[in-house]
Subunit: 226 residues, 8 copies
């Protein structure tokens, strides 16, 4: 077990071996982290990797990290806080949303995927109640190695797309909606029950998680199994 190592920071145990094992550096889920812990983790990961990605960061956390890493960037829409090394992007991940309110989740997915080295094609506001808007993008979507379908409310987008493409579709339910949308639960159930082949699902609003899986698939498509 000696080849499995990690960095014990007392309050956190950073998985320094993760890049080897999983081909990606550690990413920080910022929400709920205490200020002091967040800053220390960012500094440590930045020193180790020259880059670092934080998700669900607040403006306040941006201010904190900027003090020690002035080059850190923050995007309010996606709530991503990052320092990113330049890199060549490979493959093709299509990120498709049903509405404009789903863009927040879509940008979390898109910027995560780009950080992890994938080329992203953003296709927004093509929900199923205006099916011809979606069909106009059919060819573009079919070119992707993997599609991330993001929708709230009734979440039907993933089923329609999966019927159009031959590659995997990762569905992300969003908390967009009101009343019986139950903050994304209805969309989650819709997607889990998809009648179409080739749909798998992640947690509500989990753009990051969808991107991570999509990057794994995209890398396999471009580089094959190693």
């Amino acid at each position: 077990m000696s080849s499995k190592s990690y960095d014990d920071m007392e309050f956190a145990k950073l998985d320094t071996d993760r890049e080897l094992r999983q081909n990606v550096a550690e990413v920080v889920f910022c929400e709920g982290k205490e200020d002091e812990h967040l800053v220390k983790i960012f500094r440590r990961l930045y020193e180790q990797n020259g880059q670092v990605l934080g998700t669900r960061a607040s403006a306040h956390q941006y201010d904190l990290v900027k003090e020690i890493i002035p080059e850190v960037e923050y995007d309010e829409t996606s709530r991503i806080l990052k320092v990113e090394k330049e890199k060549e992007l490979i493959g093709n991940i299509a990120i498709v949303t049903a509405g404009t309110a789903d863009i927040k989740v879509a940008e979390e997915a898109a910027q995560t995927a780009e950080f992890l080295g994938a080329k992203v094609n953003r296709i927004f506001d093509v929900g199923v109640s205006g099916i011809h808007r979606l069909l106009d993008k059919e060819d573009e979507i079919r070119e992707a190695n993997v599609v991330i379908a993001i929708a709230g409310m009734e979440g039907a987008l993933a089923s329609v797309i999966a019927g159009l493409v031959k590659n995997p579709v990762i569905a992300v339910p969003t908390s967009v909606g009101y009343g019986a949308s139950f903050e994304g639960l209805s969309a989650l159930l819709t997607m889990i029950n998809s009648c179409a082949n080739g749909v798998t699902v992640v947690n509500i609003d989990n753009g990051y998680g969808a991107a991570y899986s999509a990057v794994q698939i995209n890398r396999l498509a471009v580089k094959g199994a190693d």
Copy 2:
């Protein structure tokens, strides 16, 4: 209140005034009725109206009623038990299903609508995971005064159809599915959260209820308000 009358059978109070008030004769929900009660109710309504419609009837109930009303007909798929007067059918109600397993509910809706005097156009197995099958029927569906969209599993059919037509869509979730379909609850939530304009929803597997509302709308479209 003298103009509101009903027929008190002790165990049941038949609404003999209903046809005047609602333009339809009483329909019998057969499931759970005791044998003796069912037979009496069927006989009474048949004598009053010359026709009678029973929903959710069992083969056993068919046998019982046939003894006293030999001309009664039973359809196993829709579980409808009826004696029907010849009548002219008016208007156009499209009944659309996502899959073949939804046909049971669709036939309950279709035969109810026909019993209540509406012309029906059946369009089956055009679920959203093969969207082009649905789009091939777009013109037919647009011609209807009202559309009944029937789907289980993820129930996305209603949203897509409502985006294509200008007339009302009544969505019927079905209990078709397994696992997290929760016997129709997921489809119900999908439909209630529809992002499309013009969708209203009835109870799970309630083909009868959808037909009833559709017939009301179809009559308004053909005859106008009286």
Copy 3:
């Protein structure tokens, strides 16, 4: 497919064809839209149609839009933000509420219906626990081409009304209540399980959606199928 067109604004795809296909102009769901997007969408729709209807708008959004469209009007109760062309109202939609707290939803429905060209009859605070108040309005309600029944808490209003009228009833559960009302879920379940014929249901607090479907039915009743 060339006859299906839309206006691609990058972050949103406005369905310019919708009026042709569905007889209504695009309506804007304001909640959650980013300021810049909202303003652009309002301007575009106003330019195209000479009128525009926003639902679930905030006072802040009113201020924003007023800067570019000074004639825009805002109603705090219904949260409707609109510029409306004068038009002749047709038909008769009855909008009935159980309590005074349901008026917010009722006004969203009423003003939407009027914007879309229907005549509305408002009948408020006639819940079933004082059944004689409702029965005093029976004749008025029976005259409508379609009834919108709005109720929170136990939501029993729709069933009682549907038993009184011959035209369709659209039920709107509201989030009025506390404890086991579960923010409208209980009322939604009551309405979906209605024992009365002719009830269909929309999402919790969805006054807009109920009005949209009611307008479709009202138009069919007045103008017939085209």
Copy 4:
């Protein structure tokens, strides 16, 4: 504590003091009891009180008990198994149902109430979708000391009745319905959320429990506090 006594049968501890403390003899919930236990408990209570009431009994259990207590009676509808001493019935409990399928629960309530000494007025099949049938019974219902309102599906009956009477209403949701009735849960929620004053609720299908509370109230009304 010496005044609190019970009869220890090893597998069960019969509360022989209950009649003193609560004015009623022990009643047996038969469902799920093992044959041998059931027979012993029936015999013991019969010996002690000269009467015994079993609820939710099966035909098989009837056969078992009849062997040792030949005078025992069984009613299939209510599933009540009893030997009953003659007694004078006092007061007035109205038992009202929405539909005919609710009669099973209503009879459990009615026969329990009669066993416990109350006079019962049965008023069946007066659900809210035909409100005039209910209103025709208004005077009768108002005469009761307490009303038991029994309804499945959307369960709106209790609210309407409570608005008509000045005495307490006990609501019993039933498992009658299908789809989103969730075996009585929807009716339970409706009743718990009643907008009317004076409604309290018992468990789904719990006719026995409603009768027990109603008998307590009826006795207070007739005899006053002792």
Copy 5:
């Protein structure tokens, strides 16, 4: 039906006949009422009855009403806003709580019951985890004509009390608790499933509703049926 009258205030229909029919004056549920409406309703009821009871009132609403009715009183714990005529209190209602955090709901119940003319005995903080504290009050509780049992968290109080007394118990689940208490749902389920005879249940935190039913029972016990 001419003997059923109400006062039509346009936005609200006050049931002026209610006292005749139900022996109590109208009570105002203040939460969510618009300022202008609230003030008008309070004034009208005060003029008609010389007293008025508001539940779930805010401090802000107190300020508003005080301007037009200077003698109005407000209690922050129970959130009751009232002008009360002196009256003789009759009978005996025991109001029992499991913990100190349930006192808010208990005071709503107690002050409502007193307003409606009942004598109240407050017994607080005798939850089942310290059963001997409850048993010390057994005699006092047994003297009541009706008991209101108020508990959050696991809500077991009602079952234990119902086993000790011969009169009715009305259970009020409260939203006190955290985690899997689901804001009172767990306590509600506990109480609805009570294994004890004589328990009926009202909505979560509904002290008012429990008091209303208790007053009905208490009056029957003292005055008998009229």
Copy 6:
């Protein structure tokens, strides 16, 4: 990792090291096992340990195993199938039930605990609605090193007991009940929300699991930490 060994049977991996690590032999959850697999696993464990305990076994499975292990015993109430070596029982585990219908779960717990070497004290039918029956057993219950409290319906037993004793209480919700008991969910919620100190909870009907944990605690109490 060489000290962690198991027995690979292809379809199952028996944890032969478990006794060392956890002080108990492998137990078999029989329900759902295929006939051939069950027989092989029983034989293997019997050969290794000279005893074997199966839970949730059917009569059919008893017949199968008896063919190869004639000395196997089966108890219909607890559904336990076992061959048991004689052993000295230590300590004191009290197993308390609310009703007689909970005895099935209690016997699963009791026989498991005895198989694993603990002395058991069975105290049945002392539910909280007859609190004096429970209090009569207070001294006996206080003597136990750990108490297993088993109850369905409203599940209040655990809270009352935990208030009486100083040692740990393990609560087992049972599926006994109907309607809103939701097959044990209500009892589970009651127990998880217990207001008493010292209550932990296992899955619905999980007598085995409660016994396992109780045996661990009982052993610590008798033998101390090793």
Copy 7:
């Protein structure tokens, strides 16, 4: 739209174009299909493709199909009914189960994957409560292009595996369990909330769906994007 074709069988619309678009032939979900329909669909697909795969088939359906396609094979464990052409299997999909009761779902996944051309490595009964059994298989699991992790009860398997591998993990919750497992819902929630990177989820017991997505990924890994 001419390039999108399907075979209209009146009651079903077979997607003959599916192989082109999605690289797989049509698969039949047998459960709930009427006998006559099932036989016709099997014959048609067999004629078109020389092979056909049915999932969730019953023994009765096997008998029916065998009459017209004598070479059809049926596996009771997986409930798969198929005629399969010989083919070369490519890549590496690891199918891992927590327990032996999950094997039914695992075999549905495994045989589907093999039918669709993928090489499968079955690793069963390595649940997380005996973590060393799982770790012994770590190297084997890491070699797969994609892992299907199948578990009921608490469903923790997917998170542990995803922490060990660099390729995608598809999690399948199963309905194995009892009580608060809610027929797979608990396992589904566990998996959707996985704290590990690279987990996506399909419906409860949906071995087929997991296999389909896994085959898509496996093909990308072996053949790259085409």
Copy 8:
């Protein structure tokens, strides 16, 4: 019953006998207590015991209590407010968390356990998605008399630990997570369904309750039954 005494403070009944009966002094659940009540309870308990422990305290409550008990200490992370007598800590309780966000709950548990006299070993951030971090701590965890396993999101930690140790594991689900974590419900379900032996569960975020039970077990392990 004379040996059971308590201190009646009118609004609260402090169980002064509790230390005798349960070996611990009264602890105060601060959340929701009114200021005046809280201060009085703190003073009374401090006078009686020379120490007092408050859980879920706010900074505001700290200020209040400090005025009358200047030596009181407050910890923001755990929200514990206490005056603690020096004492010798005994035994060994391991408190293990899956992530850093679970530390809040872990500290409530740890400081409670220490207050009640137990030695605590804190092992944080060893969640199952990095299983080797957990296995590195295996020996330490095995040394504990009882383990408290704290995890949000998917809550798999308890099952893995229970498979590694021979002593009891108390699982605490936390509300850490988002979307379908449903504020701890998913973690609760995971833990209740644990496939591992020896896991019992407390309420979401209930660090205090877990510590209390753990202290009972730890004392039994060190001192045996008394």
